[in-house]
Amino acid sequence: MEWYLPVIWAALIGTAVVMYVILDGFDLGIGILFPFARNEIERDQMMRSIAPFWDGNETWLVLGGGGLLVAFPRAYAVIMPALYLPVIVMLLSLVFRGVAFEFRTVSHSKTWLSVAFATGSTLAAFSQGVILGGLIEGIPVRDGAFSGGSFDWATPFAVLCGLSLIAGYGLLGATWLVMKTEGAIAERARGQAKVLLLTVLVFMVAVSIWTPIAEPRIAARWFSLPNFYFLWPVPMVTALTAYLTWRWIAAGRDVPPFLATIALFLLGFLGLAISNFPYLVPPSLTVWDTAAAPASQIFMLLGTLFLLPIVLGYVGFIYWLFRGKVREGESYH
């Protein structure tokens, strides 16, 4: 029990994080692509394609971060102070992104709010990448507490991860637009998706080369035998998925490019999990080191097993309710 309970929770938190990255990924992607819209009608269309969903999507961030408090309080208590500034910047960016949605319908000065929306989205994406990069590079811990400085996370690798996530979310946003809009926006999004796909691939390769070189533990995980025999399919499948994504975008398909992009993200996440498991706070604290008391994990688990499927159910319902292309003439509120 003491062994597998933290593992189950690691899987649940991981699922929450993946859900967040994909769902808010395309929301933030729309914000990242916002500056490329030509006029107010297009910007409106882009907003309307995500407006019913963004609030629920962002909730997965609370489940992922708050979930860390629930299941792994010692990891939460180390990671948050260690990545203090990127976390705060992310939160403030999300504040601006979130209110920009609602203020835009009321305001006369849409320009400022479009700037807030685009900047907030881009900065939130960048901060999340920096958080990821900072986490992968490892966090110094002494006596169970963070023992480093306020700017430890500020490295070239973290910047690389930040830029990668901007491109990645941009790709999610672009393929979402291909799926949910028509006309000029959809066509432009198709072109943007191609560019972003290539960019994401370059970044993925860069990160995949950098991490084993920079972190010997990751190199050992991937390249030692017999691990390598099991793990080499992962980059192969990723390459294949990327190729299929390209083909589907080019072939004018609406839905498959978005689904394939999700698959790319899942594969990227899988790679991260393979590199770092069981370390929740690399390089020193595992999921077992940082787990909450079993009584707490069990109490939360029982409720989660009941509630999470319900949550997924009504989230699915909402996406079904607002299925199809954004309709011309269907107004906000």
Partner: protein
């Protein structure tokens, strides 16, 4: 300059949570009001209720967004600035917050999508049901958050090993001694706060001579609600106070600025507590008043601040004045609501211009009372972050003072800008009124929504 990281962390949390509480105080009540309007619409078939529902939903959206983004800040701040708190009591508090997210937050955030955008996609019964679900979600959020916060005030159901709290009895944890009182008091406060906003908006329209029918409807509904809830809040508050006396007597001592527990307590209408000397200056008091309220006896005794060393006392002035402000507003609410009910009974409510003028300017009173009350309960718990278990000064994160000062400045600037605009936009929505041209899109598919909205907006501005 030597900055105290603990003080900065407290200031940052206080700042962000005070901003946050404004929005749930409004959205809990407003979502219930919107659902009520929906039910009345379905049962009466009267389109005015549907218009009012759509009108308040727009305002709800703006407020809810600000509540969400400021709430996410708090859920991460437990880690960024209070990491030792997270380690010491995370086993207990964590799941309570976790249940809030899973059973409430997701619910409200998801079904809000239907409420804001789904009017043309779902049948009316599902639309109103979505409103009810959002209202239930907000109340459920309040349940879990108040449970977690109440455990910090009256911790039970746990065991301590090496200073770390482990859960022993979840029912005792969730339904800890102060929870029922604090939950009832806060939930009622939320409905009251919204009631006075709706009252103010209705009054404003009648004074301006615009949207008269809608204004009258809102006035009637709001006075009906507040006439019941305002006196109820006094009762709930009294019970809450007695419960606090039992479990957190020093907090009550600070609320009353009661220093010497060996004598009965006077009720100070005004006083200036001198915390160094341990006396109250310039006191305007009702003799034995506090003893009467707290013990129901003229000469009843209750613990004074002197019964504990200064290091175990909360900041007296903040708690004392916060309490006075809260109950002053509470009594004003009772008077205003009952007087409004009286005027309504006499049939002179809609012509009582001076009453309407005053109430139109009183939209903010609930918010001030809520903030004052939260300052009383949270500051009154100091120096403990979890009463008797963990001191605030021992609960912070290993983050340098300068870094916290930097982020505090960012929060003050960002929140100042964002929330100022939020209130400005809500005010503009109210000024446009329930029959603003934007409401005309019901069931219509206009060819060019942007220019239609622009023209409608211009027309609305010209009308107001």
């Amino acid at each position: 300059m030597d900055l105290d990281p603990v003080l900065l962390a407290r200031l940052q949390f206080a700042f962000t949570i005070i901003f946050h509480i404004i929005f749930p105080s409004f959205t809990i009540g407003l979502s219930a009001y919107i659902a009520t309007l929906g039910v009345v619409w379905l049962r009466s078939g009267n389109d005015r209720y549907q218009q009012l529902m759509r009108f308040w939903t727009k305002i709800f959206a703006v407020s809810f967004a600000m509540g969400v983004v400021s709430g996410i800040v708090l859920s991460y701040q437990f880690g960024t600035n209070w990491s030792r708190f997270s380690v010491m009591v995370g086993n207990v508090v964590g799941p309570l917050i976790g249940y809030e997210v899973l059973s409430a937050f997701f619910l409200e955030a998801t079904f809000l999508g239907v409420l804001l955008f789904g009017f043309n996609r779902v049948p009316p019964w599902l639309y109103v049901l979505s409103a009810a679900i959002v209202a239930a979600g907000t109340a459920t959020s309040a349940f879990w958050i108040l449970s977690a916060n109440s455990w910090m005030q009256t911790p039970t159901g746990h065991e301590l090993h090496g200073g770390i709290a482990y859960p022993a009895d979840w029912l005792a944890i969730i339904f800890n001694p102060s929870f029922p009182y604090r939950f009832a008091h806060m939930l009622n406060a939320a409905y009251l706060t919204t009631g006075f906003v709706v009252l103010a908006v209705g009054a404003r329209y009648l004074v301006a001579g615009q949207h008269i029918e809608e204004g009258r409807t809102m006035l009637r509904m709001a006075i009906g609600l507040t006439a019941i809830l305002a006196p109820l809040q006094l009762l709930l508050g009294d019970q809450h106070g007695l419960n606090t006396l039992q479990h957190q007597p020093i907090k009550v001592a600070a609320m009353e600025a009661h220093w010497d527990g060996s004598k009965p307590g006077d009720f100070h209408i005004f006083a200036w507590p001198d915390e160094t000397a341990g006396v109250n200056r310039y006191a305007l008091s009702i003799p034995h008043g506090s003893s009467l309220i707290l013990t129901h006896h003229m000469n009843g005794l209750f613990p004074g601040l002197n019964s504990v060393p200064p290091s175990d006392r909360p900041p007296v002035k903040m708690v004392f004045f916060g309490f006075r402000i809260m109950i002053a507003i509470g009594f004003f609410m009772i008077a205003a609501a009952l007087f409004g009910a009286f005027l309504w009974w006499r049939g002179t409510l809609f012509e009582a211009r001076w009453y309407l003028r005053v109430m139109a300017h009183c939209w903010w009173i609930g918010f001030v009372a809520v903030i004052a009350g939260w300052i009383v309960t949270e500051t009154g718990r100091q120096p403990w972050i979890v009463a008797g278990i963990l001191r605030t000064a021992d609960a912070t994160s290993p983050v340098p003072a300068a870094t916290i000062a930097g982020t505090l400045a960012l929060f003050v600037i960002a929140y100042g800008v964002v929330f100022s605009f939020g209130i400005y936009y809500i005010n503009r929505l109210i000024a446009q009124g329930p029959t603003g041209a934007l409401a005309q899109e019901t069931g219509q598919f206009s060819a060019n929504p942007i220019s239609a909205a622009r023209d409608a907006g211009r027309a609305a501005v010209r009308r107001t």
